[in-house]
Amino acid sequence: MLEKALRGNREYAALAAALLFIVALGFHYYLKQLEYGLGLTGLSQDVSWGLYIAQFTFLVGVAASAVMLVLPYYLHDFKAFGKITVLGEFLAVASVIMCILFIFVDLGQPRRVMNLLLYPSPSSILFWDMVVLNGYLAINLVTGWAVLTADRKGAPPPPWVKPLIYLSIPWAISIHTVTAFIYAGLPGRGFWLTAIMAPRFLASAFASGPALLILLCLILKRFGAFDAGEKAISALAKIVTYALATTIFFVLAELFTAFYSRMPEHMHHFEYLFVGLEGQTLVAGAMAIATVLTFLALGLLISPKTRKNEFTLAIACGATFIALWIEKGLGLVVTGFVPSPLGKVAAYGPTWPEIAITLGIWALGFLVIAGLYKIFLAVRSQE
Protein backbone atom coordinates (compact mmCIF):
# COMPACT_ATOMS: atom_id res chain seq x y z
CA MET A 1 0.00 0.00 0.00
CA LEU A 2 2.94 2.25 0.73
CA GLU A 3 3.50 2.97 -2.96
CA LYS A 4 0.17 4.83 -3.07
CA ALA A 5 1.75 7.67 -1.10
CA LEU A 6 4.27 8.17 -3.90
CA ARG A 7 1.76 8.70 -6.67
CA GLY A 8 -0.49 11.72 -6.87
CA ASN A 9 -1.69 14.63 -8.92
CA ARG A 10 0.20 17.85 -9.46
CA GLU A 11 -1.11 19.60 -6.32
CA TYR A 12 -0.07 16.65 -4.17
CA ALA A 13 3.42 16.67 -5.70
CA ALA A 14 3.73 20.43 -5.16
CA LEU A 15 2.66 20.10 -1.53
CA ALA A 16 5.15 17.30 -0.94
CA ALA A 17 7.94 19.28 -2.61
CA ALA A 18 7.22 22.39 -0.53
CA LEU A 19 7.18 20.37 2.69
CA LEU A 20 10.38 18.57 1.72
CA PHE A 21 12.06 21.91 1.12
CA ILE A 22 11.16 23.08 4.65
CA VAL A 23 12.36 19.75 6.05
CA ALA A 24 15.68 20.19 4.23
CA LEU A 25 16.03 23.73 5.57
CA GLY A 26 15.38 22.51 9.10
CA PHE A 27 17.87 19.69 8.66
CA HIS A 28 20.49 22.14 7.42
CA TYR A 29 20.11 24.18 10.63
CA TYR A 30 20.08 21.04 12.73
CA LEU A 31 23.50 20.14 11.33
CA LYS A 32 24.67 23.59 12.38
CA GLN A 33 23.23 23.05 15.84
CA LEU A 34 25.03 19.71 16.06
CA GLU A 35 28.29 21.43 15.27
CA TYR A 36 27.92 24.47 17.55
CA GLY A 37 25.75 23.07 20.33
CA LEU A 38 22.37 24.11 21.66
CA GLY A 39 23.83 27.59 22.20
CA LEU A 40 22.47 28.26 18.72
CA THR A 41 19.01 28.44 20.29
CA GLY A 42 17.63 31.16 22.56
CA LEU A 43 17.87 28.89 25.60
CA SER A 44 19.89 29.85 28.65
CA GLN A 45 20.91 28.58 32.09
CA ASP A 46 17.65 30.02 33.46
CA VAL A 47 15.24 29.10 30.66
CA SER A 48 16.69 25.69 29.88
CA TRP A 49 13.71 24.30 27.96
CA GLY A 50 12.00 26.28 25.22
CA LEU A 51 10.38 25.95 21.84
CA TYR A 52 11.40 22.32 21.19
CA ILE A 53 10.12 20.85 24.44
CA ALA A 54 7.01 23.01 24.22
CA GLN A 55 6.22 21.62 20.73
CA PHE A 56 6.68 18.13 22.08
CA THR A 57 4.27 18.87 24.93
CA PHE A 58 1.65 20.33 22.60
CA LEU A 59 1.93 17.52 20.06
CA VAL A 60 1.52 14.80 22.68
CA GLY A 61 -1.94 16.32 23.10
CA VAL A 62 -2.70 16.19 19.40
CA ALA A 63 -1.61 12.56 19.39
CA ALA A 64 -3.73 11.67 22.40
CA SER A 65 -6.84 13.14 20.82
CA ALA A 66 -7.23 10.18 18.45
CA VAL A 67 -8.97 8.57 21.39
CA MET A 68 -11.86 11.00 20.88
CA LEU A 69 -12.67 9.10 17.66
CA VAL A 70 -11.75 5.62 18.78
CA LEU A 71 -13.70 5.71 22.03
CA PRO A 72 -17.11 6.74 20.64
CA TYR A 73 -16.77 4.39 17.67
CA TYR A 74 -15.55 1.25 19.38
CA LEU A 75 -17.09 1.60 22.85
CA HIS A 76 -20.36 3.35 22.02
CA ASP A 77 -20.77 2.10 18.46
CA PHE A 78 -21.05 5.67 17.19
CA LYS A 79 -21.07 4.71 13.49
CA ALA A 80 -20.47 8.20 12.08
CA PHE A 81 -16.84 8.03 13.22
CA GLY A 82 -16.27 4.71 11.43
CA LYS A 83 -15.11 6.43 8.28
CA ILE A 84 -12.53 8.60 10.00
CA THR A 85 -11.07 6.69 12.95
CA VAL A 86 -8.17 5.70 10.72
CA LEU A 87 -7.58 9.41 10.02
CA GLY A 88 -7.37 10.01 13.77
CA GLU A 89 -4.94 7.15 14.20
CA PHE A 90 -2.75 8.36 11.36
CA LEU A 91 -2.77 11.88 12.83
CA ALA A 92 -1.60 10.32 16.10
CA VAL A 93 1.21 8.52 14.26
CA ALA A 94 2.45 11.75 12.67
CA SER A 95 2.17 13.64 15.98
CA VAL A 96 4.13 11.07 17.96
CA ILE A 97 6.85 11.06 15.30
CA MET A 98 7.10 14.84 15.70
CA CYS A 99 7.16 14.48 19.51
CA ILE A 100 10.06 12.06 19.39
CA LEU A 101 11.95 14.29 16.95
CA PHE A 102 11.42 17.37 19.12
CA ILE A 103 12.89 15.56 22.12
CA PHE A 104 15.75 14.34 19.97
CA VAL A 105 16.74 17.78 18.64
CA ASP A 106 16.58 19.13 22.19
CA LEU A 107 19.26 16.70 23.44
CA GLY A 108 22.69 18.15 24.07
CA GLN A 109 24.30 14.79 23.28
CA PRO A 110 22.04 13.13 20.69
CA ARG A 111 24.72 10.50 19.98
CA ARG A 112 24.15 9.15 23.46
CA VAL A 113 20.39 8.76 23.08
CA MET A 114 20.74 4.99 23.49
CA ASN A 115 21.74 5.63 27.12
CA LEU A 116 17.99 5.88 27.76
CA LEU A 117 17.81 2.15 27.03
CA LEU A 118 21.24 1.16 28.33
CA TYR A 119 20.57 2.71 31.75
CA PRO A 120 16.79 2.57 32.17
CA SER A 121 15.79 4.70 35.16
CA PRO A 122 12.23 4.01 36.30
CA SER A 123 12.37 6.88 38.80
CA SER A 124 12.54 9.33 35.90
CA ILE A 125 9.29 10.40 34.28
CA LEU A 126 11.18 10.90 31.02
CA PHE A 127 11.89 7.17 30.97
CA TRP A 128 8.17 6.42 31.22
CA ASP A 129 7.38 9.00 28.61
CA MET A 130 9.71 7.23 26.22
CA VAL A 131 7.94 3.94 26.95
CA VAL A 132 4.39 5.26 26.49
CA LEU A 133 5.18 7.37 23.41
CA ASN A 134 6.87 4.55 21.53
CA GLY A 135 4.10 2.17 22.55
CA TYR A 136 1.44 4.58 21.36
CA LEU A 137 3.22 5.04 18.05
CA ALA A 138 3.32 1.29 17.52
CA ILE A 139 -0.31 0.74 18.52
CA ASN A 140 -1.66 3.42 16.20
CA LEU A 141 0.54 2.47 13.28
CA VAL A 142 -0.41 -1.20 13.55
CA THR A 143 -4.15 -0.71 14.12
CA GLY A 144 -4.55 2.02 11.50
CA TRP A 145 -2.64 -0.03 8.93
CA ALA A 146 -4.47 -3.27 9.73
CA VAL A 147 -7.90 -1.67 9.47
CA LEU A 148 -7.00 -0.04 6.18
CA THR A 149 -5.49 -3.23 4.73
CA ALA A 150 -8.64 -5.13 5.62
CA ASP A 151 -10.67 -2.37 4.03
CA ARG A 152 -8.77 -2.72 0.80
CA LYS A 153 -9.53 -6.42 0.68
CA GLY A 154 -13.14 -5.72 1.55
CA ALA A 155 -12.83 -7.94 4.63
CA PRO A 156 -13.42 -7.15 8.32
CA PRO A 157 -10.24 -6.31 10.31
CA PRO A 158 -8.43 -9.35 11.80
CA PRO A 159 -9.64 -10.28 15.30
CA TRP A 160 -6.41 -9.29 17.08
CA VAL A 161 -6.97 -5.64 16.16
CA LYS A 162 -9.91 -5.16 18.55
CA PRO A 163 -8.00 -5.71 21.83
CA LEU A 164 -5.22 -3.48 20.54
CA ILE A 165 -7.74 -0.73 19.84
CA TYR A 166 -9.22 -1.08 23.32
CA LEU A 167 -5.69 -0.83 24.71
CA SER A 168 -5.14 2.37 22.75
CA ILE A 169 -7.84 4.15 24.79
CA PRO A 170 -6.18 4.13 28.24
CA TRP A 171 -2.83 4.37 26.47
CA ALA A 172 -3.82 7.70 24.90
CA ILE A 173 -4.76 9.04 28.34
CA SER A 174 -1.44 7.77 29.67
CA ILE A 175 0.77 9.59 27.17
CA HIS A 176 -0.61 12.96 28.14
CA THR A 177 -0.74 12.16 31.84
CA VAL A 178 2.87 11.05 31.88
CA THR A 179 3.88 14.14 29.90
CA ALA A 180 2.10 16.35 32.45
CA PHE A 181 3.90 14.51 35.24
CA ILE A 182 7.23 15.61 33.75
CA TYR A 183 6.28 19.06 34.96
CA ALA A 184 3.84 18.52 37.81
CA GLY A 185 6.26 16.65 40.10
CA LEU A 186 9.07 19.18 40.42
CA PRO A 187 9.51 20.90 43.77
CA GLY A 188 10.32 24.57 43.49
CA ARG A 189 8.62 25.18 40.13
CA GLY A 190 5.43 26.74 41.45
CA PHE A 191 3.84 27.21 38.05
CA TRP A 192 3.92 23.52 37.22
CA LEU A 193 3.43 22.14 40.71
CA THR A 194 -0.31 21.65 40.42
CA ALA A 195 -2.38 18.47 40.50
CA ILE A 196 -4.66 19.85 37.80
CA MET A 197 -1.81 19.78 35.27
CA ALA A 198 -2.67 16.37 33.79
CA PRO A 199 -6.44 17.03 33.60
CA ARG A 200 -5.68 20.42 32.05
CA PHE A 201 -3.38 18.82 29.50
CA LEU A 202 -6.05 16.31 28.53
CA ALA A 203 -8.80 18.92 28.26
CA SER A 204 -6.75 21.15 25.99
CA ALA A 205 -5.62 18.13 23.97
CA PHE A 206 -9.22 17.10 23.31
CA ALA A 207 -9.84 20.59 21.97
CA SER A 208 -6.72 21.10 19.85
CA GLY A 209 -6.50 17.60 18.34
CA PRO A 210 -10.11 17.28 17.15
CA ALA A 211 -9.95 20.92 15.95
CA LEU A 212 -7.03 19.97 13.70
CA LEU A 213 -8.87 16.84 12.60
CA ILE A 214 -11.93 18.89 11.59
CA LEU A 215 -9.68 21.19 9.56
CA LEU A 216 -8.03 18.19 7.88
CA CYS A 217 -11.45 16.67 7.09
CA LEU A 218 -12.62 19.96 5.57
CA ILE A 219 -9.45 20.05 3.45
CA LEU A 220 -9.99 16.45 2.33
CA LYS A 221 -13.59 17.31 1.41
CA ARG A 222 -12.45 20.18 -0.75
CA PHE A 223 -9.31 18.74 -2.34
CA GLY A 224 -9.41 15.01 -1.74
CA ALA A 225 -12.97 14.14 -2.79
CA PHE A 226 -13.56 12.55 0.61
CA ASP A 227 -16.52 13.54 2.76
CA ALA A 228 -16.25 12.61 6.42
CA GLY A 229 -19.98 13.21 6.74
CA GLU A 230 -21.88 15.98 8.44
CA LYS A 231 -22.70 13.88 11.47
CA ALA A 232 -19.04 13.08 12.18
CA ILE A 233 -17.95 16.70 11.77
CA SER A 234 -20.70 18.03 14.00
CA ALA A 235 -19.93 15.45 16.70
CA LEU A 236 -16.26 16.43 16.55
CA ALA A 237 -17.23 20.10 16.77
CA LYS A 238 -19.19 19.41 19.95
CA ILE A 239 -16.18 17.61 21.43
CA VAL A 240 -14.00 20.66 20.66
CA THR A 241 -16.61 22.95 22.27
CA TYR A 242 -16.83 21.04 25.54
CA ALA A 243 -13.07 20.45 25.74
CA LEU A 244 -12.30 24.12 25.08
CA ALA A 245 -14.80 25.25 27.72
CA THR A 246 -13.27 22.80 30.21
CA THR A 247 -9.78 24.10 29.40
CA ILE A 248 -10.85 27.68 30.08
CA PHE A 249 -12.45 26.59 33.35
CA PHE A 250 -9.26 24.81 34.45
CA VAL A 251 -7.10 27.85 33.68
CA LEU A 252 -9.49 30.08 35.64
CA ALA A 253 -9.29 27.65 38.56
CA GLU A 254 -5.49 27.94 38.45
CA LEU A 255 -5.72 31.72 38.38
CA PHE A 256 -7.99 31.71 41.43
CA THR A 257 -5.62 29.56 43.46
CA ALA A 258 -2.60 31.66 42.52
CA PHE A 259 -4.12 35.09 43.06
CA TYR A 260 -6.44 34.46 46.01
CA SER A 261 -3.71 32.69 47.98
CA ARG A 262 -1.31 35.45 46.92
CA MET A 263 1.63 33.08 47.28
CA PRO A 264 4.44 34.78 45.39
CA GLU A 265 5.96 31.66 43.92
CA HIS A 266 2.67 30.77 42.25
CA MET A 267 1.43 34.27 41.49
CA HIS A 268 4.55 35.69 39.85
CA HIS A 269 4.52 33.07 37.10
CA PHE A 270 0.95 33.93 36.14
CA GLU A 271 1.84 37.62 36.14
CA TYR A 272 4.67 36.84 33.74
CA LEU A 273 2.34 34.71 31.60
CA PHE A 274 -0.42 37.26 31.23
CA VAL A 275 1.13 40.72 31.68
CA GLY A 276 4.90 40.18 31.69
CA LEU A 277 7.50 40.96 34.36
CA GLU A 278 10.35 43.47 34.28
CA GLY A 279 9.73 44.34 30.65
CA GLN A 280 9.74 40.72 29.46
CA THR A 281 6.45 40.66 27.55
CA LEU A 282 7.04 38.31 24.60
CA VAL A 283 5.09 35.46 26.19
CA ALA A 284 2.44 37.80 27.59
CA GLY A 285 1.94 39.33 24.14
CA ALA A 286 1.45 35.91 22.59
CA MET A 287 -0.90 34.95 25.42
CA ALA A 288 -3.00 38.07 24.77
CA ILE A 289 -3.52 36.83 21.21
CA ALA A 290 -4.30 33.35 22.53
CA THR A 291 -6.88 34.74 24.95
CA VAL A 292 -8.69 36.66 22.22
CA LEU A 293 -8.64 33.63 19.91
CA THR A 294 -9.89 31.33 22.68
CA PHE A 295 -12.97 33.41 23.41
CA LEU A 296 -13.59 34.01 19.70
CA ALA A 297 -13.51 30.25 19.15
CA LEU A 298 -15.71 29.56 22.16
CA GLY A 299 -18.29 32.07 20.93
CA LEU A 300 -18.36 30.56 17.43
CA LEU A 301 -18.55 27.02 18.79
CA ILE A 302 -21.27 27.61 21.38
CA SER A 303 -23.71 29.13 18.92
CA PRO A 304 -25.20 26.21 16.93
CA LYS A 305 -25.56 28.39 13.85
CA THR A 306 -21.85 29.16 13.53
CA ARG A 307 -20.85 25.69 14.69
CA LYS A 308 -22.81 24.09 11.85
CA ASN A 309 -21.59 26.46 9.17
CA GLU A 310 -18.43 25.02 7.64
CA PHE A 311 -16.78 28.38 7.13
CA THR A 312 -17.24 29.68 10.69
CA LEU A 313 -16.47 26.23 12.07
CA ALA A 314 -13.16 26.30 10.23
CA ILE A 315 -12.37 29.71 11.73
CA ALA A 316 -13.29 28.45 15.21
CA CYS A 317 -11.10 25.35 14.80
CA GLY A 318 -8.19 27.38 13.46
CA ALA A 319 -8.52 29.82 16.37
CA THR A 320 -8.70 26.95 18.89
CA PHE A 321 -5.65 25.26 17.44
CA ILE A 322 -3.52 28.43 17.35
CA ALA A 323 -4.65 29.58 20.81
CA LEU A 324 -3.83 26.25 22.42
CA TRP A 325 -0.60 26.05 20.48
CA ILE A 326 0.44 29.39 22.02
CA GLU A 327 -0.68 28.28 25.47
CA LYS A 328 1.18 24.94 25.36
CA GLY A 329 3.68 25.44 22.55
CA LEU A 330 5.17 28.53 24.18
CA GLY A 331 3.52 29.71 27.41
CA LEU A 332 3.42 26.61 29.55
CA VAL A 333 7.06 25.61 29.31
CA VAL A 334 8.83 28.98 29.33
CA THR A 335 6.69 30.40 32.16
CA GLY A 336 7.73 27.56 34.46
CA PHE A 337 11.27 28.96 34.38
CA VAL A 338 10.40 32.64 34.85
CA PRO A 339 11.02 33.91 37.46
CA SER A 340 13.93 31.55 38.15
CA PRO A 341 14.50 29.94 41.56
CA LEU A 342 16.72 32.92 42.40
CA GLY A 343 14.01 35.37 41.34
CA LYS A 344 15.59 36.30 38.02
CA VAL A 345 13.33 37.28 35.14
CA ALA A 346 15.34 35.85 32.27
CA ALA A 347 14.69 36.76 28.66
CA TYR A 348 13.80 34.04 26.19
CA GLY A 349 13.03 34.28 22.52
CA PRO A 350 13.60 31.53 19.98
CA THR A 351 16.38 32.19 17.47
CA TRP A 352 16.03 31.76 13.69
CA PRO A 353 17.87 28.42 13.58
CA GLU A 354 15.63 27.21 16.41
CA ILE A 355 12.52 28.30 14.49
CA ALA A 356 13.83 26.73 11.26
CA ILE A 357 14.45 23.38 12.99
CA THR A 358 10.99 23.58 14.56
CA LEU A 359 9.34 24.29 11.22
CA GLY A 360 11.36 21.47 9.66
CA ILE A 361 9.93 18.95 12.10
CA TRP A 362 6.39 20.29 11.66
CA ALA A 363 6.84 20.01 7.89
CA LEU A 364 8.02 16.43 8.26
CA GLY A 365 4.97 15.71 10.39
CA PHE A 366 2.65 17.18 7.77
CA LEU A 367 4.47 15.18 5.11
CA VAL A 368 3.72 12.02 7.07
CA ILE A 369 0.08 13.10 7.42
CA ALA A 370 -0.14 13.89 3.70
CA GLY A 371 1.38 10.53 2.76
CA LEU A 372 -0.77 8.47 5.12
CA TYR A 373 -3.95 10.34 4.18
CA LYS A 374 -3.09 9.85 0.51
CA ILE A 375 -2.92 6.11 1.08
CA PHE A 376 -6.20 6.28 2.98
CA LEU A 377 -7.92 8.15 0.12
CA ALA A 378 -6.51 5.80 -2.51
CA VAL A 379 -7.78 2.74 -0.65
CA ARG A 380 -11.19 4.26 0.02
CA SER A 381 -11.73 5.45 -3.55
CA GLN A 382 -11.14 1.96 -4.93
CA GLU A 383 -14.37 0.79 -3.40
Binding site: G108, N115, L342
Partner: protein, 257 residues
Protein backbone atom coordinates in the same frame (compact mmCIF):
# COMPACT_ATOMS: atom_id res chain seq x y z
CA UNK B 1 17.38 -6.59 -9.93
CA UNK B 2 14.75 -4.68 -7.98
CA UNK B 3 14.64 -5.38 -4.26
CA UNK B 4 11.50 -6.78 -2.74
CA UNK B 5 10.03 -5.57 0.52
CA UNK B 6 11.64 -8.26 2.64
CA UNK B 7 15.11 -7.41 1.35
CA UNK B 8 14.62 -3.68 1.90
CA UNK B 9 13.53 -4.40 5.48
CA UNK B 10 16.61 -6.57 6.03
CA UNK B 11 18.95 -3.86 4.80
CA UNK B 12 17.16 -1.22 6.89
CA UNK B 13 17.47 -3.42 9.95
CA UNK B 14 21.20 -3.89 9.43
CA UNK B 15 21.67 -0.15 8.95
CA UNK B 16 19.77 0.59 12.15
CA UNK B 17 21.85 -1.92 14.08
CA UNK B 18 25.03 -0.42 12.66
CA UNK B 19 24.00 3.04 13.87
CA UNK B 20 23.09 1.78 17.32
CA UNK B 21 26.21 -0.32 17.91
CA UNK B 22 29.08 2.21 18.22
CA UNK B 23 27.54 4.14 21.17
CA UNK B 24 26.88 0.83 22.94
CA UNK B 25 30.48 -0.29 22.46
CA UNK B 26 31.74 3.07 23.77
CA UNK B 27 29.60 2.70 26.86
CA UNK B 28 30.75 -0.84 27.52
CA UNK B 29 34.38 0.20 27.05
CA UNK B 30 33.91 3.12 29.44
CA UNK B 31 32.56 0.76 32.09
CA UNK B 32 35.83 -1.11 32.34
CA UNK B 33 37.76 2.06 33.19
CA UNK B 34 36.16 3.02 36.52
CA UNK B 35 38.53 4.57 39.08
CA UNK B 36 40.13 2.14 41.51
CA UNK B 37 40.64 2.25 45.27
CA UNK B 38 40.85 5.45 47.28
CA UNK B 39 44.27 6.11 48.86
CA UNK B 40 44.58 6.02 52.67
CA UNK B 41 45.28 9.76 52.81
CA UNK B 42 41.85 10.56 51.34
CA UNK B 43 39.37 12.63 53.32
CA UNK B 44 36.26 10.54 53.90
CA UNK B 45 32.96 11.00 55.71
CA UNK B 46 29.80 9.12 56.48
CA UNK B 47 27.77 12.11 55.33
CA UNK B 48 29.43 15.18 53.89
CA UNK B 49 28.05 18.61 54.66
CA UNK B 50 29.12 22.22 54.65
CA UNK B 51 28.55 25.17 56.97
CA UNK B 52 29.12 28.75 55.85
CA UNK B 53 29.35 31.54 58.38
CA UNK B 54 27.94 34.27 56.15
CA UNK B 55 28.74 36.98 58.70
CA UNK B 56 32.38 36.34 57.88
CA UNK B 57 31.81 36.72 54.11
CA UNK B 58 33.30 39.94 52.78
CA UNK B 59 30.89 41.46 50.32
CA UNK B 60 31.67 40.82 46.66
CA UNK B 61 34.76 38.77 47.54
CA UNK B 62 35.28 36.49 44.50
CA UNK B 63 37.92 34.17 45.99
CA UNK B 64 35.89 31.00 46.44
CA UNK B 65 34.34 31.37 42.98
CA UNK B 66 37.66 31.98 41.24
CA UNK B 67 39.36 29.06 43.02
CA UNK B 68 36.54 26.66 42.16
CA UNK B 69 36.22 27.71 38.54
CA UNK B 70 39.98 27.55 37.94
CA UNK B 71 40.23 24.15 39.60
CA UNK B 72 37.44 22.65 37.49
CA UNK B 73 38.13 24.28 34.11
CA UNK B 74 34.86 26.21 34.19
CA UNK B 75 34.65 28.34 31.04
CA UNK B 76 33.82 32.04 31.14
CA UNK B 77 31.59 33.17 28.30
CA UNK B 78 30.83 36.79 27.51
CA UNK B 79 27.22 35.87 26.83
CA UNK B 80 25.64 35.56 30.30
CA UNK B 81 23.04 33.12 28.90
CA UNK B 82 25.78 30.52 28.51
CA UNK B 83 27.73 31.30 31.68
CA UNK B 84 28.47 28.16 33.68
CA UNK B 85 28.41 28.47 37.45
CA UNK B 86 29.62 25.95 39.97
CA UNK B 87 29.56 28.64 42.65
CA UNK B 88 27.75 31.93 42.36
CA UNK B 89 27.17 34.88 44.64
CA UNK B 90 23.61 36.11 45.14
CA UNK B 91 21.90 38.68 47.37
CA UNK B 92 20.69 37.32 50.73
CA UNK B 93 17.06 38.11 49.85
CA UNK B 94 17.22 36.06 46.61
CA UNK B 95 18.85 33.10 48.33
CA UNK B 96 16.40 33.08 51.25
CA UNK B 97 13.19 34.58 49.83
CA UNK B 98 11.27 33.45 52.92
CA UNK B 99 13.58 35.45 55.20
CA UNK B 100 13.45 38.64 53.18
CA UNK B 101 11.52 41.52 54.75
CA UNK B 102 11.63 45.27 55.12
CA UNK B 103 13.07 45.19 58.63
CA UNK B 104 16.08 43.09 57.60
CA UNK B 105 19.29 44.72 58.93
CA UNK B 106 21.25 46.57 56.26
CA UNK B 107 24.20 44.24 56.83
CA UNK B 108 22.11 41.31 55.60
CA UNK B 109 20.18 43.19 52.94
CA UNK B 110 23.38 44.18 51.14
CA UNK B 111 25.10 40.86 51.75
CA UNK B 112 26.02 38.55 48.87
CA UNK B 113 25.95 34.88 49.77
CA UNK B 114 27.80 32.04 48.03
CA UNK B 115 25.42 29.55 46.40
CA UNK B 116 26.16 26.15 44.88
CA UNK B 117 24.85 22.60 44.81
CA UNK B 118 23.28 21.68 48.16
CA UNK B 119 24.08 17.98 47.83
CA UNK B 120 20.54 17.30 48.98
CA UNK B 121 19.58 14.25 51.03
CA UNK B 122 16.63 13.79 48.71
CA UNK B 123 17.76 15.32 45.44
CA UNK B 124 15.14 15.93 42.72
CA UNK B 125 17.90 16.04 40.07
CA UNK B 126 18.85 12.41 40.80
CA UNK B 127 15.20 11.35 40.79
CA UNK B 128 14.45 12.90 37.38
CA UNK B 129 17.65 11.90 35.53
CA UNK B 130 16.63 9.37 32.82
CA UNK B 131 20.06 7.72 32.53
CA UNK B 132 21.49 7.72 36.06
CA UNK B 133 24.13 10.24 34.95
CA UNK B 134 23.38 12.18 38.14
CA UNK B 135 23.63 9.98 41.19
CA UNK B 136 24.03 10.04 44.94
CA UNK B 137 27.19 8.65 46.55
CA UNK B 138 26.92 6.79 49.86
CA UNK B 139 28.88 9.62 51.51
CA UNK B 140 26.22 12.16 50.51
CA UNK B 141 27.87 13.78 47.50
CA UNK B 142 25.55 14.30 44.53
CA UNK B 143 27.69 13.41 41.54
CA UNK B 144 27.59 13.64 37.77
CA UNK B 145 28.90 11.29 35.11
CA UNK B 146 29.68 13.65 32.24
CA UNK B 147 30.10 10.71 29.90
CA UNK B 148 26.65 9.35 30.46
CA UNK B 149 24.69 12.62 30.43
CA UNK B 150 22.56 12.98 27.28
CA UNK B 151 21.91 16.68 27.85
CA UNK B 152 18.13 16.46 28.29
CA UNK B 153 18.27 19.06 31.10
CA UNK B 154 15.47 17.48 33.13
CA UNK B 155 17.80 17.94 36.15
CA UNK B 156 17.96 21.69 35.52
CA UNK B 157 14.18 21.88 35.64
CA UNK B 158 14.18 19.66 38.71
CA UNK B 159 16.76 21.59 40.74
CA UNK B 160 14.95 24.21 42.84
CA UNK B 161 18.19 26.12 43.43
CA UNK B 162 19.41 26.86 39.91
CA UNK B 163 22.64 25.06 40.79
CA UNK B 164 23.08 23.30 37.47
CA UNK B 165 24.59 24.58 34.25
CA UNK B 166 24.39 23.32 30.70
CA UNK B 167 27.31 23.42 28.27
CA UNK B 168 25.42 25.24 25.54
CA UNK B 169 28.58 25.20 23.42
CA UNK B 170 32.15 23.89 23.41
CA UNK B 171 33.64 25.02 26.76
CA UNK B 172 37.32 24.41 25.91
CA UNK B 173 38.09 27.67 24.06
CA UNK B 174 36.57 29.73 26.89
CA UNK B 175 38.74 28.21 29.63
CA UNK B 176 41.51 30.73 30.33
CA UNK B 177 44.07 28.36 31.83
CA UNK B 178 43.47 24.65 31.61
CA UNK B 179 44.05 22.60 34.76
CA UNK B 180 45.39 19.27 33.44
CA UNK B 181 44.28 17.46 36.60
CA UNK B 182 40.59 17.87 35.91
CA UNK B 183 38.70 16.85 32.75
CA UNK B 184 37.30 19.37 30.30
CA UNK B 185 33.65 18.78 29.51
CA UNK B 186 32.10 18.40 26.09
CA UNK B 187 29.38 20.62 24.68
CA UNK B 188 25.90 19.31 25.42
CA UNK B 189 26.28 18.00 28.97
CA UNK B 190 25.13 19.45 32.28
CA UNK B 191 27.55 20.08 35.14
CA UNK B 192 27.63 21.38 38.70
CA UNK B 193 29.58 21.47 41.96
CA UNK B 194 30.99 18.03 42.83
CA UNK B 195 32.01 18.91 46.41
CA UNK B 196 35.61 18.63 45.09
CA UNK B 197 35.43 14.87 45.38
CA UNK B 198 38.66 14.66 43.35
CA UNK B 199 40.45 16.82 45.96
CA UNK B 200 38.93 14.95 48.91
CA UNK B 201 40.29 11.74 47.39
CA UNK B 202 43.77 13.29 47.50
CA UNK B 203 43.35 14.40 51.11
CA UNK B 204 42.75 18.06 50.20
CA UNK B 205 39.91 20.32 51.28
CA UNK B 206 37.51 21.59 48.61
CA UNK B 207 38.95 24.46 46.56
CA UNK B 208 36.42 27.03 47.81
CA UNK B 209 37.05 26.13 51.45
CA UNK B 210 40.82 26.29 51.00
CA UNK B 211 40.63 29.62 49.14
CA UNK B 212 38.39 31.50 51.58
CA UNK B 213 40.55 34.18 53.28
CA UNK B 214 38.01 34.53 56.11
CA UNK B 215 37.82 30.80 56.84
CA UNK B 216 34.05 31.19 56.55
CA UNK B 217 33.45 27.73 55.03
CA UNK B 218 33.71 24.45 56.93
CA UNK B 219 33.27 20.98 55.47
CA UNK B 220 32.91 17.92 57.61
CA UNK B 221 31.18 14.72 58.49
CA UNK B 222 27.60 15.32 59.61
CA UNK B 223 27.43 11.71 60.79
CA UNK B 224 30.26 12.27 63.26
CA UNK B 225 29.09 13.94 66.50
CA UNK B 226 32.58 15.20 67.34
CA UNK B 227 33.24 16.83 63.98
CA UNK B 228 33.89 20.56 63.69
CA UNK B 229 30.82 21.04 61.51
CA UNK B 230 28.59 19.40 64.14
CA UNK B 231 30.05 21.70 66.79
CA UNK B 232 29.29 24.75 64.62
CA UNK B 233 25.74 23.62 63.86
CA UNK B 234 24.97 22.96 67.53
CA UNK B 235 25.98 26.54 68.34
CA UNK B 236 22.84 28.26 67.06
CA UNK B 237 20.39 28.74 64.22
CA UNK B 238 21.39 27.62 60.73
CA UNK B 239 19.46 28.41 57.57
CA UNK B 240 19.04 26.03 54.67
CA UNK B 241 17.81 27.06 51.26
CA UNK B 242 14.13 26.26 50.79
CA UNK B 243 14.03 23.58 53.43
CA UNK B 244 10.23 23.46 53.07
CA UNK B 245 10.62 21.64 49.75
CA UNK B 246 11.82 18.49 51.48
CA UNK B 247 14.98 18.22 49.42
CA UNK B 248 17.15 18.12 52.57
CA UNK B 249 19.96 20.49 51.55
CA UNK B 250 23.29 19.69 53.24
CA UNK B 251 24.74 23.18 52.97
CA UNK B 252 24.04 25.21 56.13
CA UNK B 253 24.23 28.98 56.35
CA UNK B 254 25.18 30.29 59.80
CA UNK B 255 24.57 33.81 61.01
CA UNK B 256 26.71 34.56 64.06
CA UNK B 257 26.76 38.33 63.44
Amino acid sequence: MPLNRREILKIAGCLGLGLACPPMIYELAAKTKRPGDVPASALTAGSWGMAIDIAKCRNRCPDCITACHEEHNVPSFLDSRHQIRWIGSEPFGAVFPGQDHRMLPESLKSLSVPVFCNHCDNPPCVRVCPTGATFKRPDGITMMDYHRCIGCRFCMAGCPYGSRSMNWREPGPAVKKINPNYPLRAAGVVEKCNFCEERLAQGKLPACVAACPQKAMTVGDLADERSEIRRLLSGGLALRRRGELGTGPQVYYLWRG
